[in-house]
Point group: none
Chain length 196, copies 4
DNA sequence: AATGAATGAGGATTCATTCAT
DNA sequence: GATGAATGAATCCTCATTCAT
């Protein structure tokens, strides 16, 4: 109704502290999309732009490039954990959720390859924690005497499937992932995100 | 019309055209080392420096970044082909040579993931050719009724093993690769480079 | 994932967003000077250096080489337009201002030759717009029945004078420009920049 | 890595001293074409390549970039001189030949603008000589009392027409050149190269 | 707390020029 | 005398990161 008629310094609205959490989420969503479209090496500025925030905000929330990727992964991991904790979840169901993320997100793939290239040891440590959390979640539902029971075989199999997952579209990647599990003789449930 | 200021100072030795082939080889060797140390995104200048040649030489021999990687892969592929053609070679032996290259060279891993990220279609096409050549070499020695016999299973398995191969040292990577083959129920011979 | 090695050393002063407009102006001024001294092909880095800003600022304000030149020209054109709009301006006066810019700025000369060499069509289109604006400004004061009245003759004459303008110093170039107008039988007012 | 390829050092044929003159001509022809297509700043390597000779040959015949351009111009100038010396040649005929070269060759245009940008003073001196030769040739047929008679007006007019000559095709450029001569009130004969 | 401009190092690429053969 | 590979300086351009506002 009233038009304050900016005299000179028109600055974009500062939404105050309330916006902080929302910005962080927006950044993660944006990062996921940008990663999917341009790979893990996409410019950080592109992520900030897509999130609709300034570059500074990105740095406020994430000290470095790796922290962004880890934050993206973190939610993927959380979904796997939730799938594992869900009432009556079976191992193949959890694998299905895991597989869905493998086919969805380039960043998730990168996780498994993280230690190859040297990085900030802190980021690496964080990645290992995430990897462990995935392992724990899976083991929670791993039936006694399952083929992937022996120590290390579980995450090795996950890494192997991630290696099989490549392709131009998600559909192709899903097919390959399923074929890989089949070749390992492991049953997988529906490949889809976890939804409470 | 603006010429460089003609330093005309001291110039490093120019070893003449004779050095061309040697330089190309040196570049490939250097690229392999740099790739192993810093990944496929390592600066091209680092490759040239390690090869002991000017940047221009790299561009003379390889029009773009992908061409360098392909040249590196090409020799890996050739070794696999030679292993497959060797007198009395058995399938596990060929797999052993292949596996050695998987554990040795980051670039070789990239080959299997090439189609994920869009690239120059020409480079991609070349990568697919290399991939096919690996497939053909392996199939040459694939026993009747082998577990990886069904179409596509062969390269899928290779991709899976490549996914399992990561780790700080070659030894660790070799252990994981062997474990991956074991999990697939496939016998592998000695993991080593092919030497006539 | 390879970050620059974070010098984190001493950084030159960052004058903040306030400096944006000032920087843009400084770049245009610098570009004009550099163009005059070294021609339109002068390195962009030289322009940034003379403007006292980083290279990035130049690219922020001007997406490419042509945009810089166009920005420089734009102000020249604006001056001609202002001269044409000035109270009581006569045609020769406007020509005088135009001629001053012709003798002052190598970039302005390039404008008339722009369509010869193929360029980004967008930049070319912009150049044509500028050319049109010059034509409109001149025509605004063109007396009925003037020798340059017939369509196209006006800009043709301007192009011809621009062809005549070359020489080591501005004074020489001004003499030649005046001689050229004389040869065309066109009266020119004082050759000087427009100042309100 | 490297195949034997050539049995011994296969080198391209060396045609001996006889080829020297032919090479020089080929270079000039090539330069004219390259200049027309890519402007005066085209890479010298492109000229050598199109001439079908090595880069060294170019440097043997022409010490620097300017020397190539001058050599190209030299023949243009020679044609104008020949046109002026031809039995019964009239001034408009000579102008027609000159105009043809103006519309044909970007390099020829550059000649008139040469002194604007500082260059090797030697090359500049050479350009001035060429310019003088054009002037002399024209004056040889300049009728008593011609409009361009007064000192300096002749070359000024030529420069002016060169300024008018721009356009995407030779035909357009020719039209503009003719319009420019008309505006100067100077008659021009057929616009075409001189052919004995 | 947010914005987004500024900085400049780093990497890609081109090309003039030299020189071994 | 010719060839064309080698050199590396110069330039373009991109982005990670800082910081005034």
């Amino acid at each position: 109704m009233t038009q304050p008629l900016t005299p000179a310094e028109r600055r974009p609205p500062n939404h105050g502290p309330k916006a902080a959490a929302r910005n962080r989420d927006a950044l993660i969503v944006a990062a996921r999309e940008i990663y999917a479209a341009h790979g893990l090496d996409a410019p950080l500025s592109a992520i900030a732009r897509r999130a609709g925030v300034g570059q500074g905000v990105l740095y406020r929330h994430f000290p470095d490039r790796a922290a962004v990727a880890i934050a993206v992964l973190d939610e993927n991991v959380r979904q796997v954990e939730q799938a594992a904790s869900a009432e009556g979840a079976r191992f193949p169901d959890v694998l299905g959720v895991l597989t869905w993320h493998l086919t969805e997100s380039a960043a998730f793939l990168g996780l498994l390859h993280a230690d190859g290239a040297a990085g900030h040891s802190e980021a690496l440590a964080h990645a290992l924690v995430l990897s462990d959390r995935v392992g724990s979640a899976l083991r929670q539902r791993l039936p006694e005497g399952h083929r992937l029971g022996p120590s290390d075989d579980l995450m090795l199999a996950v890494a192997m499937v991630s290696g099989a997952v490549s392709g131009p579209t998600r559909e192709v990647r899903e097919l390959r992932a399923k074929a890989a599990w089949r070749l390992l003789g492991v049953e997988v449930g529906p490949v889809r995100p976890f939804e409470g």
